[in-house]
Symmetry: C2
């Protein structure tokens, strides 16, 4: 009886594979990537670690891939989108705060004066985050983020922010998952800012999203339990915080990691060189923004998504570096995709 099941199962698998796109993957799993060294590096690594018998074969349970978000999976210019959100919230709620007109950093935000805002430094930034991101329940905050995603538009591309994701990276996420990788977000962005939209947009569930966070407090009011966002930083998932966040949330080293800036350097280093006793292979990739026409071009001198030390380390250590202009056929998904 088992022999028969096996034969039926094999037949079914072959038929399904042909119909459901397996043949398409075999032909080209990354159609929006131009052929060349970058695409080859990705595919040959994935093939190597997923081919049984290969000396670098990685068991299913160890197939973890971590992705930065800002500048790696979606655009981060002219400013991190979470800051665009915060500024929009300042404008929307200003009528309830008449004192903001003469009070920095709010005055600068309301006057669209980024230079003045920049002068308020870390303190100004934290004040803006505090008034826009705290003093409410996690659930209420998610509702505000969802509403903003529906209504706000990017100043240059005039599209909802969650449509300014990178089509080639979508294909990479799907490709890795088709090879039984678990895909995680490991972003400096706020965890509660990402969770309302990332599951639908990238197909990554909330429990696979690691990010920065504020302190959250459990309280029961009138018998109704709530999680309240407090005005206090809990964890910054950036730079050396990324391997720490990976360790805390995932508990194992990724086999592949994807980033675009110096904030990703330690994650890429940890992925390729961490835990030497385990002998797991590691792959690191940097998205280099080189396309001012279709998106933006920036690296060493950018205040947003600076790519300097990570670039040098990547070149020295042979990490894969994407030249956006030459490696990607398209940048964003087609408008009709959503």
């Amino acid at each position: 009886m088992h022999g028969k099941i096996h034969r039926v199962a094999t037949k079914l698998f072959v038929v399904c594979a042909l119909v459901a796109g397996h043949r398409v993957f075999a032909a080209d799993p990354l159609p929006s990537w131009n052929d060349g060294a970058t695409k080859s590096a990705i595919i040959s690594f994935v093939e190597k670690v997923t081919t049984p018998g290969n000396k670098d074969f990685v068991q299913l349970a160890d197939r973890l891939a971590t992705f930065d978000n800002d500048g790696t999976l979606w655009c981060e210019q002219p400013m991190y989108f979470q800051m665009m959100f915060a500024f929009d919230r300042i404008r929307e709620t200003a009528k309830d705060h008449p004192d903001w007109e003469d009070k920095e950093p709010f005055k600068a935000v309301l006057a669209d004066n980024l230079a003045s805002f920049g002068e308020t430094g870390q303190k100004g930034l934290l004040e803006v985050i505090e008034v826009t991101h705290t003093g409410m329940s996690v659930e209420q905050f998610h509702g505000i983020v969802r509403n903003w995603m529906h209504t706000a538009r990017h100043p240059r591309f005039h599209r909802p922010y969650d449509q300014l994701t990178y089509q080639p990276m979508h294909e990479l996420l799907v490709y890795l998952r088709s090879k039984q990788f678990e895909t995680f977000i490991v972003s400096g962005g706020g965890i509660e800012f990402m969770r309302p939209w990332i599951p639908d947009v990238y197909g990554i569930p909330t429990q696979q999203i690691v990010g920065s966070s504020g302190v959250v407090k459990y309280e029961v009011h009138d018998g109704k339990p709530e999680l309240l966002k407090e005005p206090k930083v809990n964890f910054i998932d950036d730079g050396a915080g990324k391997p720490v966040g990976i360790n805390q949330f995932i508990g194992r080293r990724p086999v592949m990691a994807f980033g675009n800036s110096d904030g990703d350097r330690e994650m890429l280093e940890w992925t390729t060189e961490g835990e030497p006793d385990k002998h797991l292979p590691g792959f690191a990739l940097i998205v280099h923004h080189t396309d001012a026409v279709r998106e933006y071009a920036y690296d060493r001198d950018s205040k947003i998504g600076r790519l300097d030390k990570a670039w040098d380390e990547g070149v020295k250590k042979g990490w894969t570096i994407v030249d956006m202009k030459n490696d990607w056929k398209v940048i964003f998904p087609p408008e009709s995709a959503k």
Copy 2:
């Protein structure tokens, strides 16, 4: 062609279901549980939320179940096993610390004087955790825990600690996963103490283990990146910290939660009453330790795993309460199981 695939697939499904145990589950998914109200409550809830068309049907993506560990999935007497580990480590490393002979809390530990140790309070506890759990890399600590699991034996049952897990709860984990629930640990225990052994013992991967943690720091020494355990508390995943930990790591409310003590009260409350706008059903279960012969009997007056406020709330709100002595046919897995 699609019609044929569908017919083959249907046939295959029916055959596999009969062969691979679907019929066995239909007969009794929880063979180590005595028939009665407790077992019925579990099964009828699971059937309800996994039957398409039922008004309480829960989508696959929302099927999350969270389990406390100490006293819920494994034994916690005569003391939390992580403390047994810490005390063993104090004894093993005492030869390198001659000053401990006259210095509390180490003196009390070395003299097996639990009363004196108790008098050193929170401060003594943190000192023991600091010398046994920090000042090394995460990887080194995992190695020490693994070694202890292989060599240490429980004082009463003379078995490795990771064999003193509850057979009926193993069946519950397998049952829920067969119904496409994702099973998570949400424990007051240390996350790095749990991760080396839980994946093998419960079939729960590291990224589904939430627990208390210390601060971890990323450092590169001689080109080798390491995660170092620092002597500073990061997060206590207990009491009101459990819904906070669930929110931070998982990002959604569980549909089912399992605990045994007052430290689980808020998690059970959050699971059954949190996020009212989502209208997800919620199920809460408390393991009540009533079996002094086969395990231990304790509740309101116990220093370890006290069950007092959570019991009252559970009775009032109709949570399912396991009477270990009467509900469980066996406590631990058979010796040959490992």
